[in-house]
Structure formats: structure tokens, C-alpha cells
């Protein structure tokens, strides 16, 4: 019973705060609500026994990326855009399109739900726990992926510095 309550509570918080993210006028409020969303998504990871991903979510997303967002909001002057309309002209069409997509996807998942019942919780007790299993997979099976990701991060860092630079000699 308790897992169900936790799951539905976390889902409700996730969706409600996600709606708040896209409807707030002030970008700082959006960021605060996005932090709530990211925390509850981390909670959903916990209900799936992905403890390492929960830690990554909190440290990297909430601690890293969100601070970056806050910094940029403080750097950019938002006083003018606060007084303007926050939604673009095509919003009714966008809502209808997204609603149709949601209905299609939900119908597809509903029709195919017998295809994926949750497997019994036998694999939880991997020796050394979730963190060791993820670490072994990262540095054995996905070594090339880790290297490519590190190069991607390096390129993104250099690119961000060059683009935010005032003048390139």
C-alpha cells in the first residue's frame, strides 16, 4: 500500500509543479518550481530502486544545472519581458496538438499495458547494491560512451565560454 501512496503522491507533485513551471510569469518562480519537479522525479527514481540516479539527480540537476539557470536569470534583465505577454500567438494550436499527442500516447500505452507488468523485485539485491552495479556497467560495458560524454562536456564548456565572451580577438 505504501509504495502506491508514495508513487501517486510523487506523480501528483511532479505534474502539478511542472504545470507551475510553464505558467509562471516570473522566470525565478519557474526555476523554483522546476527544482520541486526535479526533486519529485528523483523520488520516482527511488520508488524504482535507482538510488544512484536519485543522488545524481539531486547533485547534478538541482545542485548544478539549476544554479546555472539562476545565475543566468540574474545576469539577464527580465524587467521588460515581465510586462509583456508570456505566451506566443500560436498557443491554442499548440495546446490542441499536444493534447492530441497525449491522447494518442496514453491510448497506445493503455492498449499495450499487458505487455509490460513490473517484474518481481528479485534483482534489487545485486551484490554491492545499485551504485556498484551502475558503476561497473559505466566503466566496463559503456566505457566508450563515458569517453564520448566527457568530450561532449569539454566541447560544451569551451563553446559556452566562447559564446558568452564579450569579444573574440
Amino acid at each position: 500500500m505504501l509504495p502506491q501512496i508514495a508513487f501517486f503522491f510523487l506523480s501528483a507533485v511532479t505534474l502539478a509543479s511542472a504545470v507551475m513551471v510553464i505558467t509562471r510569469r516570473n522566470a525565478v518562480h519557474s526555476i523554483i518550481w522546476l527544482i520541486v519537479t526535479l526533486f519529485s522525479v528523483g523520488g520516482v527514481f527511488l520508488t524504482l530502486h535507482a538510488e544512484f540516479l536519485f543522488a545524481v539527480q539531486v547533485i547534478l540537476y538541482v545542485g548544478g544545472i539549476m544554479v546555472l539557470f539562476l545565475f543566468v536569470v540574474m545576469l539577464v534583465n527580465l524587467d521588460v519581458s515581465l510586462k509583456q505577454s508570456q505566451f506566443s500567438r500560436q498557443w491554442p494550436l499548440a495546446l490542441v496538438t499536444a493534447g492530441v499527442l497525449l491522447a494518442e500516447l496514453a491510448y497506445g500505452i493503455y492498449q499495450g499495458q499487458e505487455g509490460f507488468p513490473l517484474a518481481p523485485a528479485s534483482g534489487v539485491s545485486i551484490a554491492g547494491g545499485n551504485t556498484q552495479a551502475v558503476g561497473l556497467a559505466l566503466y566496463q560495458d559503456y566505457m566508450l560512451g563515458v569517453e564520448i560524454a566527457s568530450i561532449l562536456l569539454l566541447v560544451a564548456m569551451v563553446g559556452a565560454v566562447i559564446m558568452a565572451k564579450r569579444k573574440i580577438e
Binding site: P3, F7, T14, A18, V21, I22, A27, S30, L34, T37, L38, V41, V44, F45, L48, H49, A50, L53, V56, Q57, Y61, I65, L68, F69, V72, V73, L75, L78, V80, S81, Q84, S88, W91, L95, T97, L101, L105, I109, F116, P117, L118, A119, G123, N130, A133, V134, A137, L138, D141, Y142, A149, L152, L153, V155, A156, G159, A160, I162, M163, A164
Partner: protein
């Protein structure tokens, strides 16, 4: 025990909220945040299937997705600062230099 397709429903709903944010908002910062919502929806699906198949591969891919999100946020916000310095606006529909 929560069935797997509940997580897929949650991922779908979160994806749709993010998609609505990308399509309707004018503020580029909020558009970037909506992209983060979409990436989180993807992560929920990946971790749900990782649980379903009793393998950690889905979680490894979720870590790669988070890495991509970090790179995307850094480059996107760098672009935003450069744009704001040149055009004094954060509205996506006012940046139409390439529009014919």
C-alpha cells in the same frame, strides 16, 4: 507493486507538459526549462524499463541523458547571454533574423 505502465503514463504526461511549455512560451529561459522537463520524462521511462528488465543499462543511459542536459543547458544559456547582449530581448519570437 506499481505496474510499469503507470510510470509510462507519468512520463507521457510530463513530456506533454514540457512540450506545451516549449511550444507556447515566449521566454527562452522557460523554453530551456521545458526541455529539461522533457528530458526528465525520458529519464523516468528509461529507469522504469531498467526496472522492468532487471538490468542497469537503462540507468546508465539516464546518466548519459543528464550529461547531455548539462551540456545543453550550458550552451543554451551561453547563447542566451550572447543574444541578450546583441538584441536586448529574451523572447523567442523576436529573434527572427533568419526568418524570410
Amino acid at each position: 507493486m506499481i505496474p510499469s505502465h503507470y510510470y509510462l503514463f507519468l512520463g507521457t504526461a510530463l513530456f506533454t507538459v514540457g512540450l506545451i511549455g516549449v511550444l507556447t512560451r515566449r521566454n527562452i529561459i522557460v523554453i530551456l526549462m521545458s526541455i529539461e522537463l522533457i528530458l526528465n520524462a525520458v529519464n523516468i521511462n528509461l529507469v522504469a524499463f531498467s526496472r522492468y528488465f532487471q538490468a542497469v543499462d537503462g540507468q546508465v543511459f539516464a546518466i548519459f541523458v543528464i550529461t547531455d542536459a548539462a551540456a545543453e543547458a550550458a550552451v543554451g544559456l551561453g547563447l542566451l547571454i550572447a543574444l541578450f547582449r546583441n538584441k536586448e530581448t529574451v523572447n523567442a519570437d523576436e529573434i527572427d533574423l533568419l526568418k524570410w
